[in-house]
């Protein structure tokens, strides 16, 4: 969608389809409405809007640079252009197109741009370009004629806009407008545009002079200007369809009132000649990208989340520290109450329990009478076979061994003693370590030595 700010309202050109508009454009002029209302009336939703701004809102200047690098010029033009602007204190936004090393610069006050964007209301995000009318006219002419230079008289309503272009450089641009109640007189007209026409005559030699009469152009004004041109002997061409039919098939029925809008459309495909005052903070965002404001907001939210997360973490750590301290306190208290002094950890507690256990074991072992020599002697007599006659010679009993020496009547008695003693849980083994015989009046007697190993842990318990 393309909108031009005209004297009597807005001229709106809509492409019903994506460019190039093979089906042509819908052209309409509305008055008595704000831009927002115009867009709402047109049913705009997500369509891109290109706006052609009137020359009364911007300043045009030409500057020469010793270099032709677009980026370098972009970096310095903001400072260079100040000298040609009404006030150095004002804050401007400047854009330009480059012809050789000469920049055609257009500047608009930042506040004015802000007000313009404000007037778009909820359609602010739809706005893709703010194009100076000079550039739009130039591009429109560039579309219609082959020459790079021309002298154009754009007649619209009760105004005439004079544009002089040489080699794609806008040498001059002048808007002459008559108020609604102001009478258009020959003298008044001559006073305002004669110097321009004379200059035109001189510079162009009557070549490439074009006149574009918009459909709403005032007849009286048109007649007077044509008369004046005739008087000055200046011949001119009427702007019309020429060689662009292939690009815009419907151009034959194009209303040339919308010449700047046509230029705005043409500018999309001519990036080197594009001028867009929607720059810096007003720069249109590519769809799907976030603005600096949103980026900052996201950053602030991120910081908030980060701070909250950190605070939560610190709080959690503090809480856990308290829990750990409380647990340590309980362990210390338990240690003091139970062990008499604070235990450091489980290992320490285990050591203390083991220490008591060891003491008990020492005491129990020292006072355990199941391995008392008296007990072993009783056990020995208990399991000794009753039918064996023995004459002992020596019995030694300690906690681990018993050594029994004596005499019996036969070897079988020794076996019997051995077999019976083994029955006791107290005796782990009974070994016959020595045997022999001695003579006597009743025959020989058998001597023996038994070595009994005492079981330290009797089977079946005591």
């Amino acid at each position: 969608m393309f909108i031009e700010e005209a004297f009597d309202g807005f001229r709106v050109m809509i492409s019903p389809e994506k460019l190039p508009a093979s089906e042509g454009f819908l052209l309409n002029t509305v008055s008595g409405m704000t831009v927002e209302e115009v867009l709402a009336d047109a049913g705009v939703e997500k369509e891109n809007v290109h706006f052609v701004i009137s020359p009364v809102h911007y300043f045009r200047s030409r500057m020469h640079f010793p270099f032709t690098d677009q980026q370098k010029i972009e970096g310095v033009i903001g400072y260079e252009v100040r000298d040609s602007l009404p006030s150095q204190d004002m804050d401007y936004i400047t854009d330009f197109y480059l012809v050789g090393n000469e920049a055609q610069a257009f500047s608009v006050e930042r506040e004015k741009m802000r007000a313009l964007l404000y007037s778009f209301g909820r359609y602010r995000e739809n706005l893709r370009a703010v194009i100076p009318q000079d550039v739009a006219l130039f591009l429109g002419m560039h579309t219609l004629i082959e020459e790079d230079g021309y002298f154009l008289l754009q007649l619209e309503n009760r105004s005439v806009y004079i544009q002089y272009v040489v080699d794609q450089k806008i040498i001059n641009g002048l808007l002459v407008a008559f108020d609604g109640d102001e009478e258009i007189t020959d003298d008044g007209l001559k006073r305002r545009i004669l110097p321009q026409l004379l200059m035109c005559s001189k510079l162009s030699g009557n070549r490439f002079v074009w006149m574009n009469r918009a459909s709403n152009a005032n007849e009286e004004l048109c007649d007077k200007i044509e008369g004046l041109l005739e008087e000055l002997n200046i011949t001119f061409n009427q702007v019309g369809v020429k060689n662009i039919g292939n690009y815009y098939p419907d151009i034959k029925s194009f209303d040339y009132s919308a010449l700047p809008l046509l230029g705005a459309v043409r500018g999309i495909s001519l990036p080197l000649l594009q001028v867009n005052l929607l720059k810096n903070e007003f720069k249109p965002r590519a769809k799907g990208y976030v603005s600096v404001r949103e980026f900052t907001l996201a950053g602030v939210l991120l910081i908030c989340l980060f701070v909250l997360g950190t605070a939560s973490l610190v709080f959690d750590i503090s809480f856990r520290k308290q829990q750990v301290a409380a647990l340590k306190g309980r362990i210390e208290e338990l240690g003091k109450n139970t062990f008499g002094s604070a235990v450091v950890d489980e290992t320490d507690a285990r050591k203390r329990v083991s220490k008591v256990r060891e003491r008990i074991t020492v005491l129990e072992e020292s006072t355990d009478r199941h391995l008392s020599s008296l007990k072993l002697l009783k056990e020995l007599s208990l399991y000794f076979p009753g039918d064996v006659v023995i004459e002992y010679t020596d019995i030694i009993i300690d906690r681990e061994h018993i050594k029994l020496s004596g005499n019996v009547r036969s070897f079988s008695d020794i076996d019997k003693i051995r077999e019976d003693l083994v029955m006791s849980d107290y005796f782990k083994s009974v070994e016959v370590t020595n045997t022999g015989t001695t003579g006597s009046t009743g025959g020989f007697t058998v001597t023996f030595v038994l070595d009994i190993t005492v079981a330290q842990e009797p089977m079946g318990g005591i």
């Binding site: 972009e74 970096g75 810096n280 903070e281 720069k283 600096v292 980026f295 950053g299 910081i303 980060f306 997360g309 950190t310 973490l313 610190v314 959690d316 750590i317 856990r320 520290k321 829990q323 750990v324 647990l327 309980r330 362990i331 338990l334 240690g335 139970t338 062990f339 235990v343 950890d345 489980e346 507690a349 285990r350 203390r352 329990v353 008591v356 256990r357 060891e358 003491r359 008990i360 020492v362 005491l363 020292s366 006072t367 355990d368 009478r369 008392s372 020599s373 008296l374 072993l376 002697l377 009783k378 004459e391 002992y392 010679t393 020596d394 019995i395 030694i396 009993i397 300690d398 906690r399």
Partner: protein, 179 residues
């Protein structure tokens, strides 16, 4: 000066980009040097708390065991301390007197002390001559029964050469006391 000039000349888009990069850098640094250590501290505290909870549970069980064992130990110690006012030699002398075998005792000799922590093991050796076996058993049973912590740890019996119904005997006694 050059840096200032550079800053002055860069476009607002580049400034935004630089600000974004600086912001992300700051976020990264804060994350790396503040957040990560805090996370590590929290993880450490979680681990420490779990460990302490386990320790507390185990120490409670150990404490109950300690109380029970300590009670047993104290009872044992108490029973052994009751006899401390009479020395083992005096005790043996009295018991032999009561058993009527004092005259059979050839000698009573202390054989030294042994210490395990605060437990003292005092050994005494007695030689008894020509004693009937029954009297000996009666005497030995008495000395063990009437005094806690006294054990007969060595016994050597030999027939008395004049009368084989009697025996000569070496007895070693260990008396346990707690200091």
């Amino acid at each position: 000066m050059e840096f200032k000039g550079l800053i002055k000349n860069i476009s607002s888009r580049e400034k935004t980009l630089a600000a974004g990069v600086v912001f992300l850098l700051v976020v990264f640094l804060v994350y790396q040097f503040v957040f990560v250590p805090l996370l590590a501290t929290r993880q450490g505290l979680r681990y420490e708390r779990t460990e302490l909870e386990n320790q507390l549970g185990n120490i409670k069980v150990l404490a109950e065991r300690y109380v029970s064992e300590n009670k047993n130990y104290n009872e044992l110690v108490q029973s052994l301390k009751n006899k401390q006012n009479v020395s083992v030699l005096t005790y043996l002398e009295n018991e032999s007197q009561n058993a009527g075998i004092r005259d059979n005792i050839e000698y009573v000799r202390p054989r030294g002390d042994q210490k395990k922590d605060d437990v003292r093991l005092a050994s005494v050796e007695i030689k008894i001559d020509a004693i009937p076996l029954q009297d000996l058993l009666h005497f030995l049973a008495n000395i063990e029964q009437h005094r806690d912590g006294l054990i007969i740890t060595y016994l050597r019996l030999k027939p008395f050469f004049k009368d084989r119904e009697k025996i000569d005997v070496f007895v070693r006694i260990t008396d346990v006391t707690v200091e």
